[in-house]
């Protein structure tokens, strides 16, 4: 077997220097190579592959294009069909992934994963305190959504916001320093886990469900200013029952606001499973008159294609659209929740082994020869180092000065005195 694989490699290297042409004979050779690649990968037996993945790859086609490198530059994958509500057509059933995109998504998802695990570690060491809601398991949502919109579009989410802060332009250093409450943080240590802001990213909101009308307001501003931007407004399965969300559905539909409502259904609202909280668990249909999609939120390509579809819908002036992403969180609701009193460890393990978003992407890329295992390992090491550096910074950076306690109460105001804890203590506030 190893000799057969070597033969294939030699063959490919010999042909590596030649230009590809569209002759029939050449095509046959390509398909032969593709077949042998698949066989060799199966025989090599890459770890933790789920059955569905192998089947879909056997059915996938390699798109031939110019390339001198060993790696496939681009591949098309079948993705799960999306459930539709009030829509004739949905997003496409196949998604094309280029090598660069794949590596970028892999790196971002791995960064989010490691960052959340590091936050877990720092919390247990009491370096991070207060609230800390971790996003591991749901990385495909953040990365997939960002793949479907641009940085000039707007996004607002609830408190499980670390992943989105990263995809919206924050750096790991700033995020971790904000979690530890230091002056190098993205909100200078004054916001904490739930109040991180970047350009066109409005947090991080503590009140469940309140971010949805805020997102509609941002969408109203986009429509008002006529800048062809849209707003993505996220909420969870727990928040999906909030009254203000239905008020927002009404107004955004009435005024045709360019907003994508996204329900990240991770099956549990804190400790309450969806069956115990909602009379209807089909969250994509809850918008009633608003068209809806139910999407596999563990597959980054599925999420990306659905987001692109939704963005086109909004930008064409058809008004709001609702997406439900079916996803899962490995950690508990927050750091104070072990996460096993309302669900079983077996359930968590099962999801981890069968539908982990990072593993899914990794397997896809490896089996289509879009990256080598060493390359991905290198990315892992680089990410680990980045997180270590960020954690080091977050631990050693000084806390904000006491003068900052009262600053930023008002914008563009003269400095004024603020009453301290007693009537005779005065602190100065600057804008």
């Amino acid at each position: 077997m190893p000799s057969l694989i070597n033969l294939i490699e030699e063959d490919r290297q010999q042909q590596g220097g030649e230009k590809r042409s569209e002759t029939a004979g050449r095509w046959q050779q390509d398909s032969m190579q593709k077949m042998l690649t698949i066989i060799s990968n199966v025989l090599r037996g890459s770890a933790s592959r789920n059955g569905a993945q192998v089947v879909s790859e056997a059915a996938s086609m390699v798109v031939s294009s110019r390339s001198y490198a060993d790696f496939t530059p681009e591949a098309t994958f079948d993705i799960k069909k999306v459930d539709l509500h009030r829509l004739e057509e949905g997003p496409p059933l196949t998604a094309t992934l280029t090598r660069e995109e794949g590596l970028k998504y892999y790196r971002t998802m791995q960064t989010i994963r490691r960052m959340e695990l590091k936050a877990d570690q720092l919390y247990k060491q009491k370096i991070i305190r207060g609230f800390c809601h971790l996003y591991d398991g749901q990385e495909a949502c953040a990365v997939g959504i960002e793949g479907g919109i641009t940085l000039s579009d707007h996004l607002i989410t609830a408190y499980r916001a670390h992943g989105y802060t990263l995809t919206r332009g924050g750096t790991v250093r700033e995020i971790m320093a904000e979690l530890t409450g230091r002056r190098g943080g993205i909100a200078k240590g004054k916001g904490g886990s739930m109040h991180m802001y970047t350009k066109n990213f409005y947090g991080g909101n503590g009140i469940v469900g309140a971010q949805v009308p805020l997102g509609a307001g941002v969408a109203l501003a986009c429509k008002y200013l006529g800048n062809d931007q849209l707003c993505v407004s996220l909420y969870g399965d727990g928040a999906a029952n909030q009254g203000q969300i239905f008020e927002t559905y009404n107004m955004s539909s009435l005024w045709k606001l360019p907003i994508i409502f996204i329900c990240e259904n991770n099956q549990y609202g804190m400790g309450t499973s969806v069956e115990r909280s909602s009379a209807s668990t089909e969250y994509y249909k809850r918008g009633d008159y608003i068209p809806g999609l139910r999407v596999d939120g563990m597959d980054v390509l599925c999420v990306r294609e659905a987001t692109k579809f939704a963005a086109d819908h909004c930008r064409s002036g058809k008004g709001p659209i609702l997406m439900e992403l079916q996803t899962y969180r490995y950690h508990g609701h927050s750091m104070s929740d072990p996460g096993v009193s309302y669900r079983t460890r077996e359930e968590i393990q099962e999801v981890r082994s069968k539908s982990d978003p990072i593993s899914m992407l990794k397997d896809r890329m490896l089996s289509n020869n879009m990256a080598s295992i060493e390359e991905l390992k290198e990315i892992d090491i680089a990410v680990r180092k980045e997180i270590e550096d960020a954690a080091q910074f977050a631990t050693t950076d000084p806390e904000p000065p006491l003068d900052d306690l009262c600053s930023h109460i008002f914008a563009t105001d003269q400095p004024f005195d603020v009453r301290g804890a007693t009537p005779w203590t005065k602190l100065t506030s600057t804008s």
């Binding site: 916001g191 802001y197 805020l214 997102g215 927002t248 107004m251 008002f410 914008a411």
Partner: protein, 349 residues
């Protein structure tokens, strides 16, 4: 629209002689009371004729001018567009500016207050109207939490929004008549203003719209129809001069204080009536320092759960003080006798 007595139109921004920039929405302190009064006085001297304008029209004029001045300003609320405003404060604005800038909303306070705050996040300057401040209770989370954003983003996300509406007592009603100045006044980061007369209403609304911070603007429904005649002797922050007692009040109760002062004047007690809570920050009461003259006593009238009967109570109470209680005030220590009156603590409605 404001007109001079001879029928010609007052050019905008010179109306009432007060420029919006004269109103600083910071805390009013004694050291700038006098200088502020003098500035206003100087402006008043430049106005050439008398005119009458009621509070409703003053607010209308303020919004009209600000809508014209800045494209980003818009108004949303229930019945503000085609109905011309539930209390006619936004009369004529929809006809002038259209659907894009004057938006009728459904009866969903929490939803549209949140939408207004979100629009402010994204760079617009909304005026969010509540039909009365009682209905803002449905949306109180959005109003209060709009104030936290600038602080928690360490200055990254300002929220230039104005929440407006009538507040406090009305005629013959038992519900929807509560005063929420103190509720919102407790919130750091939120500016609360509660004007009494037309010029304050107009100037403060303009200043509120131009301010980059969330402002809660409380008018009073019963004041909407009251015209104010401006003469050159008016000192807006101190409505009536007097040497014996200072009555400090806000919103509609300033009128009660003036009535009480008129009655007491017949008894020989001279009251100074001053508008304190243009900025209704209750927690600042402890640090508010008025210029204290010898033997001056001070009674406060706070507008909480107010009823009409209060003015009679006030007159009796103050008469009692003047006749039976003598207070020795040390000039150096600036000791003040604060007597706060409010209405009976009855929950109505």
């Amino acid at each position: 629209m404001l007109h001079r007595r001879d029928g010609s139109r007052f050019p905008p921004d010179v109306t009432l002689g007060i420029q919006a920039k004269e109103f600083n929405l910071g805390f009013i302190r004694p050291d700038n009371l006098v200088s502020h009064g003098l500035r206003v006085f100087r402006c008043l001297l430049s106005s050439v004729s008398l005119f009458q304008v009621n509070v409703q029209d003053a607010l209308n004029q303020a919004m009209d001018e600000e809508l014209e001045r800045d494209e980003r300003v818009f108004l949303l609320g229930e019945e503000v567009a085609q109905y011309d405003g539930a209390y006619k404060v936004s009369r004529g604005l929809w006809k002038k500016y259209g659907d894009k800038r004057i938006i009728d909303t459904p009866v969903t306070e929490m939803g549209f207050a949140g939408i207004a705050v979100g629009a402010a996040f994204a760079g617009l300057r909304p005026i969010c109207e509540f039909m009365t401040w009682n209905f803002s209770m449905q949306a109180i989370d959005q109003v209060i939490n709009s104030a936290k954003t600038y602080y928690m983003s360490a200055g990254g996300q300002p929220v230039p929004i104005v929440f407006r509406g009538p507040n406090g007592s009305s005629a013959g009603k038992l519900t929807n008549i509560y005063c929420f100045a103190a509720w919102y006044g407790h919130c750091p980061g939120l500016k609360v203003v509660s004007p009494w007369n037309s010029e304050d209403a107009r100037g403060l609304l303009k200043a509120a719209i131009r301010d980059d911070n969330p402002v809660v603007f409380k008018a009073n429904e019963l004041m909407y129809g009251v015209p104010f005649d401006l003469s050159e002797e008016v000192m807006p922050k101190v409505e009536r001069q007097g040497a014996h007692i200072t009555l400090v009040s806000h919103s509609r109760c300033v009128g009660f204080c003036l009535d009480a002062a008129a009655v007491l004047a017949k008894e020989g007690v001279e009251c100074e009536v001053s508008i304190f809570t243009l900025s209704a920050r209750v927690c600042e009461l402890a640090t508010f320092q008025l210029q204290v003259k010898q033997w001056r006593r001070r009674g406060w009238l706070l507008f909480l759960w107010a009823t009409n009967k209060l003015c009679y109570f006030l007159i009796f109470f103050l008469h009692f003080i003047c006749t039976y209680i003598s207070v020795s005030v040390s000039y150096d220590q600036k000791e003040l006798l604060d007597i706060r009156t409010a209405t009976t603590h009855l929950k109505l409605g």
